[in-house]
Symmetry: C2
Subunit: 518 residues, 2 copies
Amino acid sequence: MPHKDPPTPAASAVDSEEELFTAACGHARQAAVLASVESLLGWDELTLMPPRAGPHRAEQAAALAAIVHRQRTSPEQAERLARLSEGPLGRDGPAEIAATIRLLKHDFDKRARTPARLVEELARTCVEAQQAWASARAASSWVMLEPWLERIFALKREQATCQLPDRDPYDSLMDDYEPGARWTALAERFDRLRAGIVPLVQRCVESRNRPDDSILRRSYPIAAQQRFVHEVAESIGFDFDRGRLDTTEHPFCSTAGPDDCRITTRWDEGFLPTALYGVLHEAGHGLYEQGLPRQWFGLPPGEAASLGIHESQSRLWENLVGRSEGFWEWCFPRAQAAFPEALSDVDAASMQRALMAVRPSLIRVEADEVTYNLHVMMRFDLERGLIDGSLRVADLPSAWNDRFEQDFGIRPPSDADGVLQDIHWSGGLVGYFPTYALGNICAAQLMAAAEGAIPDLWQSLAKGRFSPLLDWLRSAVHGRGRLLDSESLVEAATGSPMSEQWLLESLERRYGKAHGFG
Amino acid sequence: MPHKDPPTPAASAVDSEEELFTAACGHARQAAVLASVESLLGWDELTLMPPRAGPHRAEQAAALAAIVHRQRTSPEQAERLARLSEGPLGRDGPAEIAATIRLLKHDFDKRARTPARLVEELARTCVEAQQAWASARAASSWVMLEPWLERIFALKREQATCQLPDRDPYDSLMDDYEPGARWTALAERFDRLRAGIVPLVQRCVESRNRPDDSILRRSYPIAAQQRFVHEVAESIGFDFDRGRLDTTEHPFCSTAGPDDCRITTRWDEGFLPTALYGVLHEAGHGLYEQGLPRQWFGLPPGEAASLGIHESQSRLWENLVGRSEGFWEWCFPRAQAAFPEALSDVDAASMQRALMAVRPSLIRVEADEVTYNLHVMMRFDLERGLIDGSLRVADLPSAWNDRFEQDFGIRPPSDADGVLQDIHWSGGLVGYFPTYALGNICAAQLMAAAEGAIPDLWQSLAKGRFSPLLDWLRSAVHGRGRLLDSESLVEAATGSPMSEQWLLESLERRYGKAHGFG
């Protein structure tokens, strides 16, 4: 759209452009403030909300979603962004500003193509469906969830077609989580990953020198776990003045503002890794959120690059730091002080090795680092089928079980241990799963670069000095916001194009060692 | 405003009126749904929010307040309400509908006269001022709070003049909490109350047979208190499927939806009544909220009549039930099971009597039932002075201390124990305090009527059967919503005009007995 204002001298035109940019940013930021209220509603729903408050929460979420959508698609903002992207700032302005304009316009156009009715219906349906999911999972009853997934996938197909009509529908949905991603390229990358992982799993499983992980299944009193994981999260840098840790069925990280990042975990008295790695994972997300440039809250320079990059941060802390020998050199004395009975006859090395056991298992969030990727790739394939229509929702449980048996050699004994285990689809998160495997890929590549950039990295970690690594991530990843897409960001941070080879090398080296080969 | 539609046959005119009524209610309800999100933000702010998230929370609250205000003052709703109040439903419709129309219009007009800028500024300032209050109170530093109170009282004076320009400014502010109340009438009522209370306090203090309350100051482990008060709240009827109990510095009850009532308390290991009576009080509020007709959520038939009536419910459960001999007959074995060490040598009668000790003290929320009213009347007088300009904010601490010394014979040793103790003014709640004493007045009158209506009331309570009393309150008070003002509601429920005589009689009888006179 051309400028509507009459031509003015250059200096004044620049001023006016800058005012326009300020107004556009103010508008987007204000919508983000309201969207952060939506986050808080969602967090509260999953952590504290009284059991019967669900229907009203769905009304609240729908009302707020409609307001945020209306604000985000207002005609004045359309006008501002159209003028800015055609104007000098959008075309030749400083890189940060030009990228901000481009991304604001991309987001605006996507949303403006989505009818308010659909946005509101999705918000309401997802709250209701998540509650149905919780009941269905508890009852291991697929039929309780099935009608909800029918509605969700119908709404998501509609959303896909509306928001980016020129893109493949699955790519359109992925764009909400992994901007610009194409499933065809991702599928090729995953094929290469699978080709390395399947034989690695096989060698681990068949090894005669498997790690003994029985020590993880002793009694770890919950109150002691709570103090212990709080200390660990705080030590790696999670700022509890700007965040919280609570308890939920399904761990997550949610941000209700630039200084309000809330992570959750669950607790299992008989299995320490549930809470510890839940917290290391979510705190990794939290460190990213807390490291985004807060003065740019709600705008692309202050937003996460993608969920793949987000997941790279959680996976890096959970697996590449949290399962390392260096980390356990620091952590083990603390664990032993927290759990003197369980760990009296254990040492740091056997603890660390226990955490490296590879064993095909039913539940994604409890999977080991190696088989985890197989869980993700399977969901990626299934949900593509649900979107392109080649798989019907009604056939999902059998498709799930068949595929699971094929990949893992086990058939889930119940739907609770199978198709009902994840909250994502009932929460409207379709196209989200592949970001988990992408995160693993990026995490390994970033960690290799950090090792190169910080010569005494492992010695630092072994002494509990996590700030050299965190500072490197702050500068290489967190501080960049969303101005680069994930491939460009990884290349800028590491000096190499994104590749799954780092992950494969890392897994083979570390798991080979733990299983007595390689 | 006359009808704009052309004249139509009677039947169709009625239809159209009913459609209009439905639309007006739908609009008001939708605004109430958004306002319930504001409640949740406020609850979260006081219970769980990370320390540094305050400034962003202020932005969220202001943004949402502006949206709610815009929605509540929309021109379409103005048009609907104008037509309805001039039309047959508003003039001669069923009482419930006519009253709903009248009250919706009253609320609408009040809000429409208040500029959005003021609403937003009040919302933001109150969040910030409450945070300043928490710090100021912790530091006992008046100067940390003073500039915030200057701003708050300036904004409240402006609000008073805007919203009900024909009313006295203090009455205008009171209308938000106690619809239609006039401070002149209230001051006369309070004078009569004071005339009875001051000599009663004197007699109690001078009694040679004062209750021994030292047993309340033994060690009551917090974890046991938590289980105990949860059981008590549940037993009197608070529905934890539709509510929660959390911990805050200042106990309160907040409603985030018709099935989402959240109460809070604080804990003092060395003084059992802090948590127990905090919870009985807030659960009393919660029972009212949970008893409002939920199908009318967000509309006058589903709203509380006034904060005075609200307080009558909390005070009734806290004091008239919770400090009674009958209640302790049921409660004491439970208390003894919860605190076997502290209560091993105590019996129900001495426990009950310990809870009746009258002793002038510094902190309102810790005051006994008799002197409590003096705390309230003092705040009522001071805040009127701050609104009418006869008292300057800068002079508040000395005015507070002088008045306190005059009424209680003690001069607060610090501002934390004096002018900084309450959250109300920093939260923008001006004209709110008198509803506390009004609540005591109504509670006593309602309880006397309940005793008349339920012959075996005290025997029921002594057996832990609280439902006869709760059912009576549900029908006499809760189920009526806000369709009657508080004076009419009390008269309808009890058969007598509202009077402070019931409170005076109740206090004299019960506290005379506990102090060995009367």
